[in-house]
């Protein structure tokens, strides 16, 4: 990969590209958002259709707890994937299981899990900060380009391909199950399987995106693109494509702002995507007149 980065650096020094392309971390950041935006933006319309916005927020918080657990078990600060994946998957599956077996409203149950994981994470964070610099932890909480490695990019690429392949295989079933569950069941779709399958895919997508967007802000990229796209879309195809376009635009804009003004990448992306949401809302309102 070094030759790849060197080529961009040479082009930047020759004035063919913006000066910031001289730095490998900027190139890695661009590659990362080019993978993260279609992945999370593409998933977002299914997240909204399946009413999993709050669920995604709880998963982001669980990632923070997973990070602290991973670090306490001896994982390196820059790739504590074992702790994050393990704890997020456990939390996701537990939330679905309890939701399926309880008569309480789903958001109430998710609120219970969110409190539980966040409380545990904060308690463990005290122990972790004795061994690690809080700024290193912050990079996972809020996202940072500086910590993205080639290995992270490879993981992101493989996860995106895997999640995309499974989604394509089950897309119509997932959408029918979200729209008219009874017809899905009649068609032979396994509602329970689909519910667990989707939360596992969503969990994996969130986990591999954490370094870019951050644990506390990841919810925005799995909810807001679809919310913005809903203001403009006229079919499922347009819903998906606009969701991805909104996520991509927000990620690239956020990346640009974060490198220009040295603010956390996650925060800059979230601000960009929120701005795009209001733009689409205004455009949608004007079109409806």
């Amino acid at each position: 990969m070094q030759g790849f980065y060197d080529w961009f650096a040479a082009a930047a020094r020759a004035g063919m590209l913006p000066a910031s392309f001289e730095y490998a971390f900027v190139i890695r950041g661009i590659l990362a958002v080019l993978l993260v935006a279609p992945l999370l933006g593409g998933l977002s319309h299914l997240v909204v259709a399946r009413r999993l916005a709050f669920f995604s927020s709880a998963l982001g918080h669980a990632a923070l707890t997973g990070l602290t657990l991973g670090l306490l078990m001896g994982e390196p600060i820059n790739s504590a994937y074992g702790g994050i994946v393990g704890f997020c998957l456990l939390t996701a599956v537990a939330m679905v299981f309890v939701r399926r077996h309880s008569s309480l409203p789903p958001d109430t149950l998710i609120g219970v899990f969110l409190s539980l994981t966040l409380g545990l994470g904060i308690c463990l964070l005290v122990a972790v900060t004795k061994r690690f610099n809080i700024h290193q932890i912050e990079s996972v909480m809020f996202g940072s380009l500086l910590t993205v490695t080639d290995r992270d990019l490879l993981l992101l690429l493989l996860a995106s391909l895997g999640i995309g392949a499974v989604l394509i295989r089950h897309y119509n079933e997932l959408l029918l199950d979200s729209t008219v569950p009874t017809l899905g069941r009649l068609a032979g779709n396994r509602a329970v399987f689909l519910e667990y399958l989707f939360v596992v895919l969503l969990t994996m997508a969130i986990v591999v995106s954490l370094k870019i967007i951050g644990a506390l802000l990841v919810e925005s990229l799995v909810v807001v693109p679809a919310a913005a796209a809903r203001n403009l879309s006229w079919s499922v195809r347009s819903y998906l494509l606009i969701s991805i376009l909104v996520a991509l635009t927000a990620c690239l804009l956020g990346l640009f702002l974060s490198t220009q003004w040295l603010v956390p990448t996650g925060g800059a992306i979230v601000l960009s995507i929120a701005a795009l949401f209001f733009v689409t809302m205004a455009v949608g309102a004007l079109r409806a007149r």
């Binding site: 319309h45 909204v48 259709a49 989604l167 394509i168 897309y171 119509n172 959408l175 029918l176 979200s178 729209t179 008219v180 569950p181 009874t182 017809l183 069941r185 009649l186 068609a187 809903r230 879309s233 006229w234 079919s235 499922v236 195809r237 347009s238 819903y239 998906l240 494509l241």
Partner: protein
């Protein structure tokens, strides 16, 4: 006037001793019923009587005690028209995309082949919805959405069609359009319709046989007889808990 008094000789559905519990509550108790092959059998009863639960049991959507048997002869296809309220219209699916979801394996966002599109346009045409093919389902009126659900259920033609309050909340024109579709299908094809309805006039117009349900079977027989029972003491619309 019970199910066993005049049981049809050639049933397509036979239910024996059906019991359904929801928690500690017994939603259906000791239901024994036969639905004759061909024609329209309506299920009536007050709100909370267990009509939709009975359909859900036939569809295999919930656990139950007793036995439900379906006697197939043709294509063994079961069509189902759910209540409109069961459709989440927040996703901007067009009418065509909605039909495609159950008819193609390729994800609908990748597009619909010309052959399938043509078939679905013909289907929409048969229900007077061809001009709304590219309209999101949220933009359809109640009657149009109900017709879309109906068209979805009858393609390919089912041997048995279950409908759950298909005209509830519709205006007169939409109800008539729906009834014409159903009557046309019954005339032209050999199928059995088992329908939940709240509308005595509609039941009178469409049904060959009627069952009055209130957690157990209250009456089962010819429409005139059962609707007489309804008029005598059973209001279909008020909620349960009357004295």
């Amino acid at each position: 006037m019970t199910a066993t008094d005049s049981a049809p000789a050639d049933p397509i559905i036979r239910i024996d001793g059906l019991r359904v519990r929801r928690g500690r509550e017994e939603v259906l108790r000791d239901i024994s019923l036969q639905v004759a092959r061909g024609g329209c059998h309506c299920l009536v009863g007050p709100n909370g009587a267990g009509k939709s639960t009975l359909l859900a049991a036939i569809l295999g959507f919930l656990p139950f005690g007793g036995r439900i048997r379906l006697f197939w002869r043709g294509n063994q296809r079961l069509g189902y028209v759910p209540q409109r309220a069961a459709v989440d219209t927040s996703v901007p699916l067009t009418a065509l995309e909605f039909l495609a979801l159950q008819r193609i394996r390729r994800p609908v966002f990748l597009g619909i082949s010309r052959r399938v599109r043509r078939h679905m346009l013909e289907l929409l045409e048969s229900g007077g919805l061809a001009t709304l093919a590219d309209t999101p389902i949220a933009g359809l009126s109640g009657g149009e959405l109900q017709r879309l659900l109906f068209l979805n259920a009858v393609d390919p033609r089912p041997e048995l069609l279950l409908l759950d309050e298909p005209t509830s909340g519709l205006d007169v024109a939409a109800r008539e359009a729906f009834e014409q579709l159903l009557a046309g299908l019954l005339r032209e094809h050999e199928l059995t319709v088992f329908m939940v309805s709240h509308d005595p006039a509609q039941v009178q117009r469409l049904a060959d046989r009627v069952t009055l349900l209130d957690r157990a079977i209250v009456a089962d027989g010819a429409p005139g007889e059962v609707l007489g029972e309804v008029r005598a003491g059973y209001a279909l619309l008020p909620p349960r808990g009357r004295g």
